[in-house]
Symmetry: C2
Subunit: 214 residues, 2 copies
């Protein structure tokens, strides 16, 4: 049985192979479904997902077009996202000068203390989730949506991050937590340089935990 | 009639209002469809799009979860994306050290010359499209998928870019083209600093064209 997810991957492969060019129109749904040997419902679900991912675009009455080429996401590993995080996130904090209302700082504080509790309860799944909530809240402080999306593209996958944290010795976990606390401290004192350095150290520390040179 | 797109926007609004938290499970499809007053098919299409956008996540047998908070994309204007482009893209070229095979350089060259032809034919829709193809090809030279996605999040919308270009006087259009040519020249001579400066000047020039301080 061919699922929408499989169909999505096949379409993605076809796009990567240059089957259709950027801005080209895809064949009619009926023809495409036939060609792929799937039902139109399955094809439509797959197309919708690709529209959501910003790869395809539907124009009313004129069909489905290629809007952007997909990235090869198969090998988007945790190390890749941590390296990307380390390049992009500190730079965003430095140059975009996010401004945080006291209520936003309060949200970040709550997430940090929840992360602290998860750490001491040794619940790495929760600990990882609070990291990501912290970063999401941080990105929402950027007034520019496109910048926030650029930062969000580098956030690690929650499950992969939790697995990595599970393998870290307690001393490294404490260090990781300290970097998050320093990030917040910098934001609280309007010191983007300190926050930026702390975020970079956070990613470096995780990369070291993976045995990667940081 | 409530379309999937409307339903998607309503779900997005609910998420932005904190109706569900990050990592929380959404209500069962049947209940949610009832609550929104839409058919299950419409709801499912909307959910799929949000899954594609990385905002929701479906786990087999356990339901749909909030994976990331949506960005307020309504006001993602051209100026926002050009400012984001200017912050992120030059930085990526400088730090990620993309390496381009001769064939990739050849692709970029072809796109640049096609852009030149579109410019001289005064076809701004095509001229804009070749800019975006040029940047997409450039991002594919990054070995890190997450970084490429971060850069892609800052690319301007093709239609909005074409409209802006239509309003630019010929002398500014020539200048914009020159910055693209300099970007390629820097890549060809493994001079990321020159490419990076040219990309920054490209965005600044467009922002000036919008009457924004660059």
């Amino acid at each position: 049985m061919t699922t929408p997810a499989t169909t999505e991957r096949r379409l993605e492969q076809a796009l990567l192979k240059g089957h259709w060019n950027l801005f080209e129109r895809l064949p009619a749904e009926r023809l495409l479904a036939e060609k792929l040997g799937v039902s139109r419902a399955t094809l439509r679900t797959a197309l919708r997902t690709l529209v959501g991912r910003g790869i395809l675009e539907t124009r009313r009455g004129s069909g489905t077009f290629v809007k952007a080429l997909p990235c090869r996401s198969d090998n988007a590993s945790l190390a890749d996202s941590l390296r990307a995080f380390r390049i992009v996130m500190p730079h965003l904090l430095m140059t975009a000068q996010p401004s945080f209302a006291p209520s936003a700082i309060f949200t970040l504080e709550r997430q940090l203390s929840a992360a602290g509790m998860a750490l001491h309860a040794d619940d790495m799944r929760l600990f990882a989730q609070y990291h990501l909530q912290f970063f999401s809240a941080l990105l929402q402080g950027l007034s520019n949506t496109r910048l926030a999306q650029a930062g969000a593209a580098t956030l690690p996958d929650a499950h992969a991050l939790a697995r990595l944290l599970q393998d870290c010795p307690p001393i490294r976990l404490e260090e990781i937590f300290k970097h998050l606390a320093r990030t917040l401290h910098g934001l609280r004192h309007a010191d983007p340089q300190a926050s930026s350095a702390a975020l970079s150290a956070y990613a470096a520390c995780l990369l070291q935990g993976m045995g990667e040179e940081a």
